[in-house]
């Protein structure tokens, strides 16, 4: 079993938080993609090439 060996204690709660915060970010990005799709469907927004899915880091502030 290899454990993460850091001289600094990352803090258990702090690690969990990163997953939750990241999880919220993922949800927000997914929601944003769907929202854009709805807007396009309703012809409120013009068609444009959809941004790549790997771009999870953008727009995370909406979380």
């Amino acid at each position: 079993m290899t454990t993460v060996l850091a001289y600094l204690d990352p803090g258990s709660g702090s690690m969990i938080l990163q997953i939750i915060a990241g999880g919220l970010a993922a949800v927000a990005v997914t929601a944003k993609l769907y929202w854009n799709r709805i807007l396009r469907f309703l012809r409120i927004r013009k068609d444009e090439p959809e941004t790549s899915k790997t771009d999870t880091a953008q727009g995370t502030d909406t979380a």
């Binding site: 600094l8 258990s12 709660g13 702090s14 690690m15 938080l17 990163q18 997953i19 939750i20 915060a21």
Partner: protein, 468 residues
């Protein structure tokens, strides 16, 4: 530890990370690496990031004989670093300095992640300033990323960067005393206690403070279980997303000095223009009379004389107890790309002490480098009258620095002195008197020149320590 006789010595503030340890030999700064540490360094070198100006200049220097006897194990590799002209600490920085250091920290972490490297910690003590330019000095902080590893330095980032910035940005409370009070910074639990109900609606506060504090409390006694679980689900994309999010949050934090400071910043000083011109000329003549190494401008205020001193000095440290003007000076110097004038905020009547393990991890200012020249302009009345330091003791302290000195003495008739004396009981500060001050100065210094300014209430002296 090695013998005290030779000139090499371990840096007492560098022991926390067992993979890399800083030591000095003569004038040079070195870093000894373990086998793992060396592997990480080689990975870093391969990325080309070492040439980034945000990193301290570093190269391999393996044949260092000075190292013998300093370390328990023979190091796998040794690095030599460029020297930072004057070491400073976050509790001496202004708001924008800490913010800029935070951004350098995060940007380097993002750059490292692109190459599958991480920074193993997030402490502002790893950033130093060359003038107004922040530079990351802990090359040993870069390491190869491990599968499923979360952002290990996240908690430390909150405690030493985010919370201090938030405290000043959201609450208007200066962060410096908090960082000086605890070498590890503000804990999530403490920060939560400082936030009001309304604060949880501020961007980033709910997650990074309230939720963070709660989760920390809940999972405190289950570190093993959590570690396994986190490793299973954590992905690099999540890491990058969290760091980018933090960067945005830091970017949002802002603080401005009170309005009065802005006005005064432009036209401080109560003297007539003629006085100001003569004072400029006096300082300039001393500053350019020879090449000074390190100059301290204590009571630097808007930095007018620091700038003049910089014409003839390698490095100027501009210190003032009032964070406001220092912050504005830093912003100006930063936009000029200055690499000579280091701005710090510190109360001279309550200066930075030795802190940390054995009181040696962080040092007092004189221990970090004694100045060749000190400017103490429009300062002594504040120290003597406001802080009640006897005039003789102040001169004794200057004497102990064994430095040349440009000092200004405002007489009891000076409007500013009158203002400071006004609220005090009649007859206090009998030692604040021109004749007595001159006697004290003449005891320890050779006064080369003195000049009474036109208005008559201020006298300038250029003095050198006796016997030098």
């Amino acid at each position: 530890m090695g013998t005290m006789a030779d000139t090499s010595a371990l840096e007492p503030g560098s022991f926390r990370d067992p993979e890399s340890r800083v030591f000095y030999a003569g004038d040079e700064v070195y870093r000894a690496l373990s086998a793992d540490g060396l592997g990480d360094f080689e990975a870093l070198a391969a990325t080309g990031l070492l040439d980034d100006p945000r990193l301290i200049g570093t190269r391999r220097a393996d044949d260092v004989s000075a190292l013998r006897g300093l370390l328990v194990h023979e190091p796998a590799g040794v690095l030599r670093h460029e020297r930072i002209p004057f070491v400073s600490y976050p509790y001496e920085w202004t708001f924008s300095m800490l913010k800029d250091a935070a951004l350098v920290q995060l940007d380097l972490l993002l750059a490292a992640l692109e190459h599958d490297l991480v920074l193993k910690d997030s402490t502002p003590y790893n950033v130093q300033f060359r003038g107004a330019t922040p530079q990351f000095v802990d090359i040993g902080s870069f390491e190869r990323i491990r599968e499923g590893e979360p952002w290990v330095g996240y908690r430390q980032f909150c405690m030493l960067y985010l919370y201090p910035l938030l405290l000043q940005s959201a609450k208007g409370v200066p962060f410096q005393p908090w960082l000086r009070g605890a070498i590890d910074g503000i804990t999530p639990g403490q920060m939560r206690g400082l936030m009001s109900f309304r604060d949880r609606f501020r961007k980033g506060v709910f997650t990074n403070v309230f939720l963070h504090a709660r989760l920390e409390k809940r999972y405190a006694d289950r570190p093993d279980q959590v570690k396994q679980e986190v490793k299973r689900v954590f992905k690099k994309e999540l890491f990058v997303a969290n760091v980018r999010k933090m960067r945005k949050l830091v970017e949002r934090q802002s603080w401005d000095p009170p309005e009065g400071v802005w006005t005064a910043y432009g036209e401080r000083n109560s003297y007539t223009d003629d006085d100001a011109a003569r004072k400029d000329a006096f300082v300039r003549e001393v500053a350019t009379s020879r090449e000074w190494g390190l100059v301290w401008d204590i009571g630097a205020n808007n930095g007018r004389y620091s700038r003049i001193a910089a014409e003839g000095a390698r490095t100027v440290v501009a210190v003032d107890a009032d964070q406001g003007p220092v912050e504005l000076l830093y912003r100006d110097l930063r936009s000029e790309g200055d690499e000579k004038i280091l701005t710090l905020t510190m109360n001279l009547a309550d200066p930075s002490p030795g802190l940390g393990w054995r009181g040696l991890e962080r040092r007092s200012m004189p221990e970090r480098g004694t100045p060749d020249l000190v400017l103490a302009l429009a300062l002594i009345h504040h120290v003597a009258i406001s802080a009640n330091v006897p005039v003789k003791e102040f001169v004794d302290w200057l004497t102990s620095l064994r430095t040349a000195l440009v000092i200004e003495f405002p007489t009891r008739e000076d409007p500013m002195v009158k203002k400071l004396l006004a609220p005090k009981r009649e007859g206090l500060h009998p030692d604040y008197e021109l004749g007595f001050f001159e006697r004290c100065l003449n005891e320890a210094f050779e006064v080369d020149r003195s000049e009474r300014l036109e208005s008559g209430t201020r006298v300038l002296y250029y003095a050198r320590p006796k016997g030098r």
